[in-house]
């Protein structure tokens, strides 16, 4: 008989797998009452460390060629596909049926492929050359907002997680994500996928813990530019709006999205964490230029 090796589920900050600085843990259980693991119970300090990492990674990631980001997202899908069995196993531990677990992993992989393709295309759809009345060349393009804090869907612990991370990083943002509280296993394993996909450290940081404790830090940190929240809890939604005013974060609630349906993916999710920049430059008015050839 061989003793099974249990996995230590750690968090993911700056491309590394530390434990929570707080030294705390919690032990989520599934419906059958089986303990899933001793999972890091992250603190405010962990979040702040993660924001520092995300901010540090923003310049490099947002300056990558969109084509390069596209290849990295595709690589993430390859790595996820390769670890399919592990994800299915973890989803089953977290109460999914085998058929549903398989479906969720397949969809999550396909979603990465979907957003991999968008990386170098959405800009063309949402940009404009603006026909101003004066002698100026004027154009508007989307640019990433910056650091995005995300409280991932509690229910669809893999598909939901991938669906909120992918559009944010496809657009060149970096993020700090809080995994599902009760189903955190796939999120940590997904961090291992990220770690082996040429995704620079700090672009995606994944924490585990309790939204009730962490959500306020996720929304009032002064170096976070946007917050995404996926649950239908009106009290928390209200709190997020109030706290986000501290530095006017862009706030989006995805509580009505069915991540399994076609509406669970679109370039408009990418645009939620984009800013529109408009650039003007004079066009020289050379004498006689109006005469044509």
């Amino acid at each position: 008989m061989r003793l099974e090796i249990l996995k230590t589920y750690k968090i993911y900050i700056g491309g590394q797998f530390p434990r929570t600085e707080s030294g705390r843990y919690y032990s989520p259980v599934n419906k059958a009452g089986k303990k899933l693991a001793n999972v890091c119970l992250c603190s405010r300090k962990d979040f702040r460390d993660a924001v520092v990492s995300a901010r540090g990674a923003f310049g490099g990631w947002s300056n990558r060629a969109a084509f390069n980001r596209s290849q990295i997202l595709y690589r993430m899908a390859e790595m996820l596909e390769g670890r399919k069995a592990q994800f299915i196993d973890e989803l089953i531990q977290q109460d999914a049926s085998k058929a549903n677990a398989e479906k969720e992993v397949n969809l999550a992989t396909d979603r990465l492929i979907y957003y991999a393709g968008w990386c170098d295309k959405f800009q063309q759809l949402f940009s404009a050359v603006n026909p101003v009345a004066s002698a100026h060349f004027n154009f508007s393009v989307p640019e990433p907002t910056g650091v995005v804090s995300i409280i991932a869907p509690q229910g669809d612990s893999l598909l939901g997680l991938v669906s909120v991370i992918a559009p944010v990083i496809a657009g060149g943002n970096t993020c700090v994500v809080l995994a599902s509280e009760t189903k955190p296993l796939c999120a940590v394993t997904f961090a291992e996928v990220l770690n082996s996909s040429d995704l620079p450290g700090g672009v995606v940081n994944i924490l585990t813990g309790k939204p009730a404790e962490l959500v306020s830090w996720f929304t009032d940190h002064m170096d976070v530019n946007a917050t995404l929240y996926c649950e239908n809890n009106s009290d928390i939604q209200k709190m997020i709006r109030e706290k986000s005013a501290s530095n006017l974060k862009r706030v989006h609630f995805y509580d009505k999205v069915n991540w399994y349906s076609a509406e669970g993916q679109s370039p408009y999710f990418i645009m939620d964490t984009q800013e529109i920049k408009t650039t003007w430059h004079p066009v020289e008015n050379i004498a006689g230029a109006g005469g044509g050839y």
Binding site: V132, R241, L248, I276, K277
Partner: protein, 504 residues
């Protein structure tokens, strides 16, 4: 044979010619060229524009509105209270449900086109009233504010029946009743920026102009009435902060669009928490305007002057932080001082005036406060030597040199004709300094090198970036900020989204 005499070549002749001081005291003075007030009608008293008619305020209160250039009363306007706001919102809701939402988009378009045309027809009158009430030079209200306002209506009118082309793979629906609150720096233009896209997308409007500059919005109400816009589609309520708060907090409003200070923007963001109201905020700024040594300096100086002194510096996107590359700093500062000396400060109605009156006594006090803070913090102040009129609120064009990045005059929005100058050596250094601000509304860069322009415009975190130009606006050009300068865009295709819900 004097003609054969060779000119003596002096040493340092180029250096000397560069230091020639322009003499303005010997130039011909400009004769006064005042615009006549007779082309404008201002009533003694204005009521609230609700449901297509002028209604007495339930508050029974009126307040004076003055000319900041001479502190004389121009008129008195109603102060809308909560009950008045409620009446206006009810009218807007009824108009939305019963008329505007159901109207074929091409008919909606025609109403907006009609408004644009009437603004053009009454352009001279509107320009005079704008200048009288706000203090801005008549040249600016005549050549910029009013035509741009008319163009904005004209531009968005054409969108009304083409919305299905604007958002790939998505249908659109209006939001309902929009509550709009606008500032005092571009009163008519801001009203146009708010009303035109809201109407084109099928929403109805309750708009509040700023407390100090209500008159052109009320003239616009007269135009809207004359254009036969269905009653209640646009309602215009005058008042102060309490009126604005009543609009923000009204439960039957679906969308808030606010232009103003970051401070109030944050209050609004908090106030709508827990509601389904959508919001767009166009807030403060502290734009960096960067001059590199290879820039055409005379053009750059002209651009900097326009960037900070346009509209007395009452511009959220004003280029109020000037970053000059060290090698040309001395020359740029000298040229700036010379150019400032030639600016004419005075009667806003005079067509020669470059800088008119500060919008209000309160704003003048704020500007003076910052000037004294700047001096106390150790920066060196320079102001033009121009005379100021005896009455009214005026401020000389002012600049500070030896400014530190941490000085308050380099960090906080002054909203007046005060420029803070900081020097730099390298590209990376200036990007670091320029982006080191909670604001991100606009930015400027001056250089002759194309690749450097795109390097800079890409790295500056701001919603509008002007390269080798500044303070340019157009209805087709999206405008709005990054970071604490707000969110949402006004103008262009991107200006439609804040008033629409996208449907799968």
């Amino acid at each position: 044979m004097a003609t054969t005499k060779k000119p003596v070549r002096k040493k340092n002749s180029t250096a000397k010619s560069n230091t020639i001081k322009l003499k303005f005291d010997t130039s011909w003075p400009y004769a006064p060229a005042p615009e006549s007030k007779s082309a404008a009608t201002i009533h003694k008293q204005y009521d609230l524009f609700i449901n297509g008619e002028w209604q007495k305020p339930l508050s029974k209160k009126y307040f004076d509105t003055i000319n900041p250039a001479n502190e004389e009363k121009l008129s008195e306007v109603a102060e809308a209270n909560e009950a008045d706001v409620n009446r206006a919102v009810t009218a807007a809701r009824t108009a939305y449900e019963q008329v505007w939402k159901k109207m074929p988009p091409k008919e909606r378009a025609k109403y907006i086109f009609r408004i644009a045309r009437m603004v053009q027809e009454k352009a001279r009158e509107l320009a005079i009233v704008e200048t009288l009430n706000g203090g801005k030079p008549i040249r600016e209200s005549r050549d910029f504010d009013v035509p741009t306002a008319a163009n904005h209506f004209f531009y968005y009118a054409g969108w009304a029946d083409k919305l299905e082309y604007a958002f790939p793979n998505r249908g659109t629906a209006p939001l309902g009743v929009a509550g709009q609150i606008i500032p005092w720096n571009f009163p008519l233009l801001m009203a146009a920026w708010k009303i035109a896209p809201a109407l084109a997308t099928g929403n109805t409007v309750v708009l509040k102009p700023a407390e100090t500059t209500p008159l052109t919005a009320l003239k616009l109400a007269e135009i809207i009435q004359e254009a036969d816009l269905p009653p209640g589609v646009v309602n215009i309520l005058t008042g102060a902060g309490a009126t604005g708060a009543a609009i923000v907090n009204h439960p039957d409003i679906n969308k808030i669009a606010f232009t103003g200070s970051t401070e109030v923007g944050k209050i609004i963001q908090r106030a709508i928490a827990g509601t389904n109201k959508r919001v767009t905020l166009e807030l403060g700024g502290k734009a960096a305007n960067i001059i590199f040594e290879d820039a055409p300096l005379d053009q750059a100086v002209e651009g900097v002057i326009n960037g900070i002194f346009f509209n007395q510096g009452h511009v959220c996107c004003a280029g109020s932080r000037l970053y000059v590359q060290e090698s040309v700093a001395k020359e740029v500062i000298r040229k700036l001082k010379d150019r400032m000396e030639s600016l004419i400060v005075g009667d806003p109605l005079d067509k020669n005036t470059d800088i008119g009156a500060i919008n209000s006594k309160q704003q003048l006090a704020t500007i003076r406060k910052y000037i004294s803070i700047g001096k106390k913090e150790g920066a060196e102040m320079y102001e033009s030597s121009c005379p100021l009129p005896g009455k009214g609120f005026f401020c000389r064009p002012t600049l500070f040199t030896n400014v530190a990045q941490s000085n308050r005059i380099a960090k906080e929005e002054i909203f007046g004709p005060v420029l803070a100058i900081i020097t730099f050596r390298t590209d990376d250094e200036v990007i670091e300094k320029a982006n080191n601000s909670p604001y991100g509304l606009s930015a400027g860069v001056w250089t002759d090198k194309g690749s450097k322009i795109f390097n800079m415009t890409k790295r500056m975190r701001a919603g509008v970036v002007w390269a080798n130009t500044f303070n340019k606006f157009d209805p087709a050009s999206p405008f709005g900020g990054y970071k604490e300068s707000g969110f949402g865009r006004e103008g262009g295709l991107h200006g439609l989204l804040p008033y629409l819900e996208l449907k799968g």
